[in-house]
């Protein structure tokens, strides 16, 4: 690295901003300093992992969640709501067993925001390994408070965070606390503030909706009265793409979630659907019509001419990127039935993955690169399957005499959202990657389908 010797430079290093003025003679010293700094950070970032979330035989981690307190009784509701929402997050994650205050040792039941370490007491009878406490208060439209997490086995303070925000954002704060707890206990980022886009016909026509991971914060995104289907996220998670029949053609639109502005992205005659954004956020693969068939087209940001990736008399649909951005998985009926394929951008090689069954669709590549989830028709019903990206192993996740379709990965690759009609009407469900903890996302009039799980929220 050669820097202009007299220009001050800012280095953002592990959250610490250092401004240095580099001179030639000091270069070596600075290099040594950075070496030391990186070693220092490596050692402190090596925190204990309490729970390996990728263990297939995972036993939920027992955590005690105290009643969140409030300095003024009038604010008790919001502190309580935050505690309820984050406890629910931890419970439905399948990672935790939440023990509530009514089961605490009597001395601890009152709840306290700051517990002296020597007061942590004896929790052995309860069989919990960690304790979460918190306190929140409201002043006007502002909400402020903090949580503390303790290791009850080693009797030590693990982590605490203070939050200040708008009162209306209490639910976000609750999800963030749950994220921090997951991060501390598992070493992996939590997904409690991620959102799932989907389609519902509850207004009488299909519109696009958003909902939080826990089924809260349900909101309608499109209001155009037409048929709107197949929502897909951009990589940053600030735009939703979808196909709408407004102009009597399945055109691709995008809505900016912060400005609520709508854009018509692609309106070629025929299909414009199912855009898959690359992990680097710069490219999009889209279904478009060519010679009366659906083909895959690669487009780059900046509006250059699309590149056609597939050719011939078959249909090519449903693209999904590998996490390294080097391959895609998609559906083709070139064999006579719809099957799952991969394409490598380096070798240009196309490879068929599925050979069992006559209907294999909706492939989605796991963010962890271990599986491609897809939907297969088995004896007249649709079920969700996994296959390794090299096609070597396959496994069935759902078993029912109903349809389980349209899998969509959570950004951490530990959950799948999917559509099921197990209760008669189509609805969105969530399950863990091992097929456990299947739960309905929410309940409302009408049906829901086309789930698309959004990226991490920054």
């Amino acid at each position: 690295m050669v820097y202009d010797s007299h220009t001050p430079r800012r280095y953002d290093y592990g959250g610490v901003t250092i401004i240095t003025k580099i001179t030639n003679c000091k270069k070596l010293l600075i290099l040594a300093f950075f070496l030391f700094l990186s070693l220092f950070y490596a050692s402190i970032s090596e925190t204990k992992i309490y729970l390996n979330i990728y263990n297939p035989n995972l036993v939920p981690f027992p955590i005690a969640v105290a009643d969140f307190t409030s300095p003024r009784r009038i604010n008790g509701d919001i502190a309580n709501n935050i505690q309820q929402v984050l406890s629910n997050d931890l419970n439905i994650s399948g990672l935790f067993r939440v023990v509530r205050s009514k089961d605490f040792p009597v001395k601890m039941q009152k709840g306290s925001s700051l517990i002296e370490l020597q007061e942590l007491g004896n929790w052995d009878d309860l069989g919990v390994d960690a304790l979460l406490t918190g306190s929140f208060s409201v002043s006007g439209d502002l909400l402020a408070g903090a949580f503390q997490l303790y290791d009850l086995v080693e009797k030590k303070y693990l982590r605490g965070m203070r939050y200040e925000g708008k009162k209306q954002d209490w639910r976000h704060i609750a999800h963030r606390i749950a994220n921090e707890v997951v991060k501390q206990i598992t070493g992996s980022s939590g997904i409690f503030d991620t959102r799932i886009a989907f389609v519902s016909n509850r207004t009488g026509n299909k519109e696009i909706y958003l909902i939080d991971f826990d089924g809260g914060n349900f909101r309608q995104i499109t209001h155009n009265g037409s048929i709107n289907i197949l929502p897909r996220w951009n990589t940053e998670g600030n735009k939703l793409f979808f196909t709408s029949f407004m102009k009597r053609n399945p055109d691709l639109y995008a809505i900016d979630l912060s400005t609520k502005k709508n854009y018509r992205i692609s309106s070629q005659e025929g299909i414009n659907a199912s855009p898959a954004w690359s992990p680097d956020g710069e490219k999009m693969i889209l279904m478009q019509k060519h010679n009366d068939r659906s083909h895959l087209f690669l487009m780059r940001l900046g509006g250059k001419k699309p590149v056609q990736l597939t050719w011939g008399p078959a249909n090519y649909t449903s693209p999904s990127w590998s996490p390294d951005g080097k391959q895609i998985t998609f559906v083709s009926d070139q064999s006579g039935t719809p099957q799952v394929y991969t394409m490598d951008f380096g070798s240009k090689e196309m490879r068929r993955l599925t050979y069992e069954g006559s209907y294999n669709v909706s492939p989605v590549w796991s963010p962890k690169n271990d599986w491609i989830a897809f939907c297969s028709r088995v004896e007249g019903f649709f079920e969700i399957f996994f296959i390794t990206p090299d096609g070597s192993h396959m496994r069935q996740l759902t078993f029912s005499a109903f349809n389980n379709e349209e899998p969509s990965w959570s950004p951490d690759g530990r959950y799948l959202a999917f559509t099921s009609n197990r209760e008669g009407k189509s609805f969105i469900y969530i399950m863990n990657v091992n097929g456990n903890y299947q739960r309905k996302l929410t309940i409302f009039e009408g049906e829901a389908m086309n789930p698309s799980w959004g990226p991490y929220v920054n």
Binding site: G225, M246, G270, S318, Y359, S362, R377, K425
Partner: protein, 193 residues
Amino acid sequence: MLKKSLLKNFLLLLLLFGLLIGCAHQGKTKSEQTEPPQREEEKIIEEVKLEPQRIEPEIPQVEITETEIEPNFVQANYPGIEGKFLESSMLKDVHFALDQADLSPQARQTLTENVKLLNKFPKAKIQIEGHCDERGSTDYNLALGEKRAASVKNYLTSLDISLTRLSTISYGEEMPLNTSHNEEAWKKIDAVI
């Protein structure tokens, strides 16, 4: 002034369409009442090309004219979808086997019958709709509907319907023939195939 005369000419053209046009298509609700529900469908719809910005105020007149001339034809539209078209029970739907886009002998016969009607109205524009039932992947069904519509389009051109009169649209699984989800409805659908 120029704009007005253009408008008039355009309206005349539309009236001409109204006179010459016949055709249309079997209404969805009718077909559900009179026929056993079938698995897949293909619709042929006759569409009047409208330019909404220019002729919007005149549309009610066009409607009236059409009804007077040919009572069999009903102007219709899909809620939330731009454009209007004429429907008639005289144009029959074409049905496909599960997952398939090939025309059965029966489908070809239906299309041949439809062509007789279409030939009476040589200036009518025809939009072919491709549909699928709700089973299966939403985006794959969009592609399958396109393939089905193309099968019909190709067969119609082989029967000397000019390609310039034909357009296609795939609605995928968004307008299934049988919208009932209960077990009984499924069984009925299965029994047809």
